[in-house]
C-alpha cells in the first residue's frame, strides 16, 4: 500500500467518524394484525445529516438526488405522499402515525419554499414539481396553477425554521395518479441500503400495490435544538394494510380456490345440513402467517448503516400469549404493555417470522377514531350536483374542533350560498340548523376558469355524540374538447378533503377521492360542428345581405331581363362560333 492511499484511507476514516457525530440512520418495521385478516405493516426509515454538510453538499445518508432538487428549488421543508386504497376506519381503527404520514388517494405534495414573493415561490414550486416528477417517475409535473393551493390553517411546518416570513406553503394534489412499482423503485433508491438489506428488503412492488391500502411518504425537514446544531432530517415511511389470505396465495397460482370438501367445517345445526349442503362455520382460531409468506421474501439481515438502535428493528404487536417463531439469532424483547415484542436483527443473516395457527387469544385493543368523515357527490345528471360531507363525532362527552380543507377543480363550480347544515343526534332526529352554528371560520377562494381551483377551509366544531352533515350545490362546467382526457366519460377525479384535528400534535384524516362525471361533447365530429354552424350562419348572413344589396323589380321586368340576357348570351356564342370557323378557314 502506498503512502498516498493510506493517507486517503485515514482521511476517509476521520471524515466518517466526524460525520457520524452529526448524522445517523434508523429503520424500523411494525407489524400489527388487524381485524378481518388484515395486517398493517409500517416501515419507517429516518436519517439525519447536519445542516452544515447539507449546505456544503456533503451527503452521507441524505439522498444526493433529492438534496440537490431541494437546494435548487429553495425548498426548506417537503412532504410527499403516494397513496392508494382506502383506510377502513370502521374496522381498522385510527390511522397509523395519527394520519400525519399519509396522503389522499393519488399523489399529494406540500412544501415550504423560501422566496421573496408569491410569484417567485410559485416559480420555484414548478421547478420542484418538475424535478420530483423526474425523480419519482410520477406525473407531478401536472401540478399546475389549477391544482396548487396555499392552505391557510390546515398545515403547520413540522421543522424548525429561522424566518417564517419568507416561507411560502404550497400544496398540490393529483387524485387521479395511479401509484405503482415505478414510484417504489426510486423511493427505495433514496434509502442508504437501497432496499437490498434491512427491513426495506421486504418491499416488493407485487405485494405492496396489491394491498388494501398503502401509503408511501417522504418528509424532509430541518430540526434545530438549542444544544446542538441543526440537522436536516429525511423521514421515509411505507404503511400498508395487506389482506393475509390474499397475500398468501402463491404468485404463480393467484386464483382463489374453494376449500376442499373434507376440510370444510360445517354448521351441523342448520336444518338443511346434509352431505352436499354445508353452512361453513366461522373459524375460531387465528390464522397462521409468516413474513416470507405474506411478503414473498424474508428480511435479508439488518442494514449495516443502522447504528445503536437499542430497540429492535422489527416489532410485532400481538398479545404476549400468541406463539411466534422467529429465525434463530434474532434477539426478542417484550415490552411492558403486553402487546409488543421487538426483534433485533443481525446483519447478513436472513430473518423471518412465523405465527402459527392458534386458538383465539385476546386482541390488541383498537382505539376509537376521534372523528369519522365521509364526503360524497349527490344528485344525478351531468349538469349539476351537490357535495355532502358527513362528520361523525363518536365521543359521548367531548366536542371535536377541526379544520376542514378541500380543493376543487375549477370545472366544479360550488355555490357557497347554498351551504346548509343538518345535525343528527344519537336519537336519530335530523334537524336543519344554520351552518354558522358549526362553522367558526371560513377561508374561501373561488376558482377562476383555467387558472386556479377552489380552496375552501372551514374551522368546524362538531358537538359530542352527533353527526353533522354539510351540503352545498355545484355546477359542472363543460370543457373544450381538447381539455378532456382520452377516457372522458369515466369522469374527473376530485382530490380528497383533508381534516386536521387538534392543534399541537394534530391528527389528520382524509376522505376518499371523488369521481365527477362532466357533460361531454361528441368528440368524433369537430369538423361537422364547424361546418353545420358555419352553414347556419352563412345562411342567415347570405339571405339577409342578399335582401339588402339587391333591388326589387316586378316579375315581368325580371323575365324580360332574363330573356334579354339569354338572347344576348346566345348571340355572343353564335358570334364566337362564327369567328372560330372563319379563323379556321383562314389558316387553311
Amino acid at each position: 500500500m502506498t503512502v498516498r492511499s493510506l493517507f486517503s484511507l485515514l482521511f476517509l476514516a476521520a471524515f466518517a467518524s466526524f460525520a457520524s457525530a452529526t448524522s445517523d440512520y434508523h429503520e424500523s418495521l411494525v407489524l400489527q394484525p388487524l381485524p378481518q385478516s388484515a395486517l398493517l405493516a409500517s416501515f419507517n426509515f429516518q436519517s439525519n445529516d447536519s445542516q452544515e454538510s447539507f449546505d456544503e453538499r456533503h451527503f452521507r445518508y441524505f439522498p444526493r438526488a433529492l438534496g440537490q432538487i431541494l437546494r435548487h428549488a429553495n425548498t426548506k421543508e417537503l412532504h410527499l405522499r403516494f397513496t392508494t386504497g382506502r383506510w377502513d376506519a370502521e374496522s381498522w381503527g385510527p390511522r397509523p402515525w395519527n394520519g400525519t404520514k399519509e396522503g389522499g388517494t393519488g399523489v399529494e405534495l406540500w412544501a415550504w419554499i423560501d422566496a421573496v414573493d408569491d410569484e417567485a415561490a410559485f416559480a420555484k414550486w414548478i421547478t420542484l414539481t418538475q424535478s420530483l416528477s423526474g425523480l419519482f417517475c410520477a406525473s407531478l409535473n401536472f401540478i399546475d396553477s389549477t391544482r396548487t393551493t396555499r392552505p391557510v390553517a390546515s398545515f403547520e411546518p413540522a421543522g424548525t425554521h429561522a424566518a417564517l416570513d419568507n416561507l411560502h406553503l404550497l400544496h398540490g394534489t393529483l387524485p387521479g395518479e395511479v401509484v405503482c412499482t415505478e414510484n417504489l423503485t426510486p423511493f427505495l433508491k433514496l434509502l442508504p441500503c437501497k432496499g437490498k438489506a434491512g427491513v426495506a428488503s421486504l418491499l416488493d412492488g407485487h405485494k405492496l400495490f396489491d394491498a388494501s391500502w398503502q401509503s408511501m411518504s417522504v418528509d424532509v425537514r430541518p430540526i434545530c435544538t438549542e444544544t446542538s446544531d441543526c440537522v436536516v432530517q429525511i423521514d421515509q415511511s411505507v404503511d400498508i394494510v395487506l389482506d393475509i389470505d390474499r397475500s398468501k396465495r402463491p404468485r404463480d397460482n393467484p386464483i382463489p380456490r374453494p376449500v376442499p370438501n373434507e376440510q370444510l367445517v360445517c354448521d351441523t345445526s342448520k336444518p338443511y345440513h346434509s352431505d352436499d349442503t354445508c353452512y361453513p362455520l366461522e373459524s375460531t382460531s387465528e390464522k397462521a402467517w409468516g413474513l416470507s409468506e405474506v411478503f414473498g421474501r424474508s428480511i435479508s439481515g439488518s442494514c449495516p448503516l443502522t447504528e445503536g438502535s437499542a430497540d429492535g428493528a422489527v416489532c410485532l404487536r400481538v398479545p404476549h400469549e400468541r406463539e411466534v417463531h422467529a429465525s434463530p439469532g434474532a434477539v426478542e424483547a417484550r415490552k411492558a404493555d403486553g402487546y409488543t415484542r421487538c426483534f433485533t436483527l443481525e446483519s447478513s443473516t436472513p430473518f423471518d417470522l412465523m405465527i402459527p395457527e392458534q386458538q383465539a387469544t385476546a386482541q390488541v385493543p383498537l382505539d376509537e377514531p376521534v372523528l369519522r368523515a365521509e364526503r360524497t357527490i349527490v344528485g344525478h345528471g351531468q349538469e349539476r350536483g351537490g357535495m355532502r360531507i358527513i362528520f361523525d363525532n363518536p365521543s359521548a362527552t367531548n366536542a371535536v374542533d377541526f379544520i376542514y380543507f378541500e380543493t376543487l377543480p375549477w370545472f366544479l363550480r360550488p355555490y357557497v350560498h347554498t351551504l346548509q347544515a343538518t345535525i343528527t343526534g344519537r336519537d336519530g332526529l335530523r334537524r336543519q340548523v344554520p351552518a354558522s352554528q358549526f362553522i367558526k371560520e371560513t377561508f374561501y377562494r373561488p376558482a377562476i376558469d383555467r387558472e386556479r381551483g377552489t380552496q375552501l377551509e372551514l374551522a368546524l366544531s362538531v358537538p359530542a355524540a352527533s353527526t353533522v352533515t354539510l351540503t352545498y350545490d355545484f355546477e359542472k362546467a363543460i370543457l373544450r374538447y381538447t381539455e378532456y382526457p382520452p377516457d372522458a366519460n369515466r369522469g374527473f377525479n376530485v382530490a380528497p378533503a383533508v381534516i386536521k384535528v387538534g392543534g399541537e400534535h394534530p391528527i389528520y384524516l382524509r376522505t376518499t377521492s371523488l369521481l365527477l362525471p362532466l357533460p361531454t361533447p361528441d368528440f368524433s365530429m369537430p369538423y361537422n360542428v364547424i361546418i353545420l354552424t358555419s352553414t347556419v350562419i352563412a345562411l342567415a348572413f347570405g339571405s339577409i345581405f342578399n335582401l339588402l344589396v339587391r333591388r326589387f323589380v316586378t316579375a315581368e321586368e325580371a323575365s324580360a331581363m332574363r330573356a334579354q340576357t339569354l338572347k344576348s348570351r346566345l348571340g355572343g356564342k353564335i358570334v364566337a362560333l362564327r369567328d372560330k370557323i372563319r379563323g379556321k378557314s383562314k389558316t387553311e
Binding site: 350560498h417 377562476i448 374538447y481 361531454t520 361533447p521 365530429m525 369537430p526 360542428v529 342567415a540 335582401l547
Partner: protein
C-alpha cells in the same frame, strides 16, 4: 276609458298570472333558473345570488369564475330579502319590470313610428294592432313568463333597451341615450344599437320640430351623452368594487372572450367547444365581426325605418350573440307585433313558426336525453339549437324582405300587389 280598462285588465292579469304560478308551483322559479334556455352564465340568478353572498361578506365577487354580471345589481338585490326564504319580493320586482316594459311597448306602438317615419309611411298601415294587444302579446308570451319567473337579469337589459326606444319615439333623446347606456353597461351588446337609435332620435326631432339640426353635431352630442352615461355607471361600479380591472375582465372580458361554454340556445357554445385551439381567437373575431356587420348593413339600407332596424337587430342578437337565451327571443317577439302590417307580405311564416315551435318543444326533451337520461349525446341539443337559430333567422330575413318590399311599393305606387323579384 274603455282602453284604460283593457290595459288594466291585461296588466292585472299578467301580474296575477305570475304570482299565481309562483303560489301554485313554488319550485317553478328554481326550476326555471336552472334551465340553460333561460339562464346563461351572464344572466343567471343563481350566479347573482352567489355574487351577492360574496359581496355581502366583503369578498370581491369578481375574484372567481362564477359571477359575471354588472356590479350595480349587487346593491339593488342586497336590499331585497333573501330569495331562498322569501321568493315573493323578487318575483314581484321582476313582474313589475315586465309591466314597465309592456308600458314602454304601448308607448312605442302608440307613437306610430312602426308604420310611418319622417320620409316614409307604410302602405298597409291600417292593418295594425293597438298598444294593449301588443303589450298582451308580450306579457302572456310563455318566453317572457319563463324569463320573469327564472329571474334572469337579462330582464334589466330588456328594460333598458325598451325604455331607450320608447324615450326616443317620444322625443326624449337624452333619456333614450341614458337608458341605452344602462343597457350597454349591463350587457355590452346593446351598444351596437346606438347608430339606429340615434337616427330614430334625429328623425323624431326633425319631424316634430320641423328643423334639421346638423347631423354631425347631433350625433356627437348623443354619442357624448351615451358614453358619459356608461362612464358614470362604470365610475359608480368602481366605487362599489375596489378591483376595477378584475371587474372589467370578469364582466366585459367574459362576454367578449366567451370562456364559459355552458350550453345555451345560441350557436357559439358548441362551436367553441369543438373548434381547434389554434383557430379559437380567429373565430372569436369572426363571430363578433359577423354580429356587428348587420348593424351597418341594416342601418344604411333601411335608413328610413330606424325602429325596424332596431327590432331586427334585436332579433339578430337573439340568434348570434355569445350567450343568448329565450329572454332575447322574447324581446324580439315583443317588438314583432308592431309590424302587423308586414305580415301579409311575408312568405315563409309557416315554416319559420313551425321550426320555432319544433325547437321549443324538442329542446328541453333533447337536453334531458343528453344530460340526464344519457341516451342521447350533445349533438341532440346542438341540432335543436341549430333549428332554433335557423327558424329565427328565416323569420328575420322574411320580415326584412317584407319591410323592403313595403318601402319599394311606397316608392313605386304603380307596382302594388304585383309579383316581385330581386336582381
Amino acid at each position: 276609458m274603455g282602453v284604460d280598462r283593457r290595459k288594466a285588465a291585461v296588466f292585472g292579469g299578467a301580474f296575477v298570472l305570475r304570482l299565481l304560478l309562483l303560489v301554485l308551483f313554488p319550485s317553478l322559479p328554481d326550476l326555471l333558473t336552472g334551465r340553460v334556455e333561460v339562464s346563461t352564465p351572464v344572466t343567471s340568478f343563481k350566479r347573482l345570488q352567489e355574487g351577492l353572498f360574496l359581496y355581502t361578506r366583503n369578498v370581491s365577487p369578481y375574484d372567481g369564475g362564477v359571477f359575471h354580471q354588472a356590479p350595480l345589481l349587487l346593491p339593488i338585490f342586497s336590499l331585497l330579502p333573501s330569495s331562498q326564504g322569501f321568493p315573493l319580493p323578487t318575483v314581484v320586482l321582476y313582474s313589475l319590470i315586465d309591466l314597465l316594459n309592456a308600458n314602454a311597448l304601448i308607448t312605442i306602438s302608440e307613437s306610430g313610428w312602426a308604420v310611418s317615419g319622417r320620409s316614409y309611411s307604410a302602405i298597409r298601415k291600417h292593418i295594425r294592432w293597438d298598444g294593449v294587444t301588443i303589450a298582451a302579446c308580450f306579457l302572456f308570451n310563455p318566453f317572457t313568463i319563463a324569463t320573469c319567473l327564472g329571474r334572469s337579469t337579462a330582464v334589466f337589459t330588456s328594460a333598458g333597451i325598451l325604455h331607450a326606444i320608447s324615450s326616443a319615439v317620444t322625443g326624449k333623446a337624452f333619456n333614450s341615450m341614458l337608458a341605452l347606456g344602462f343597457a350597454s353597461y349591463l350587457s355590452i351588446y346593446p351598444a351596437l344599437l346606438f347608430m339606429p337609435l340615434m337616427l330614430l332620435c334625429y328623425d323624431q326631432r326633425a319631424q316634430t320640430a320641423q328643423t334639421f339640426p346638423s347631423t354631425t353635431v347631433f350625433a356627437l352630442q348623443h354619442l357624448a351623452v351615451f358614453l358619459l352615461s356608461i362612464a358614470g355607471l362604470l365610475g359608480v361600479s368602481a366605487l362599489l368594487i375596489g378591483d376595477f380591472r378584475a371587474f372589467l375582465s370578469a364582466t366585459y372580458g367574459f362576454q367578449l372572450l366567451v370562456p364559459d361554454l355552458t350550453p345555451n340556445v345560441g350557436l357559439w357554445w358548441y362551436f367553441f367547444i369543438e373548434i381547434f385551439d389554434s383557430f379559437r381567437e380567429f373565430f372569436l373575431g369572426v363571430f363578433w365581426l359577423h354580429l356587428a356587420s348587420y348593424m351597418g348593413g341594416l342601418t344604411i339600407r333601411l335608413r328610413r325605418q330606424p325602429l325596424f332596424v332596431l327590432s331586427s337587430l334585436l332579433g339578430i342578437f337573439a340568434v348570434f350573440k355569445p350567450y343568448p337565451s329565450i329572454s332575447d327571443a322574447s324581446l324580439y317577439f315583443a317588438l314583432l307585433p308592431l309590424y302587423r302590417h308586414l305580415f301579409p307580405l311575408m312568405r315563409y311564416t309557416f315554416f319559420a313558426v313551425s321550426a320555432l315551435l319544433y325547437a321549443t318543444l324538442l329542446g328541453p326533451a333533447f337536453y334531458h336525453l343528453w344530460i340526464y337520461a344519457g341516451s342521447g349525446n350533445a349533438n341532440f341539443f346542438y341540432a335543436i339549437t341549430l333549428v332554433w337559430s335557423l327558424g329565427l333567422s328565416i323569420l328575420l330575413a322574411d320580415t326584412i324582405f317584407a319591410a323592403l318590399r313595403d318601402e319599394w311599393e311606397y316608392d313605386n305606387p304603380d307596382v302594388r300587389g304585383k309579383d316581385v323579384k330581386q336582381v
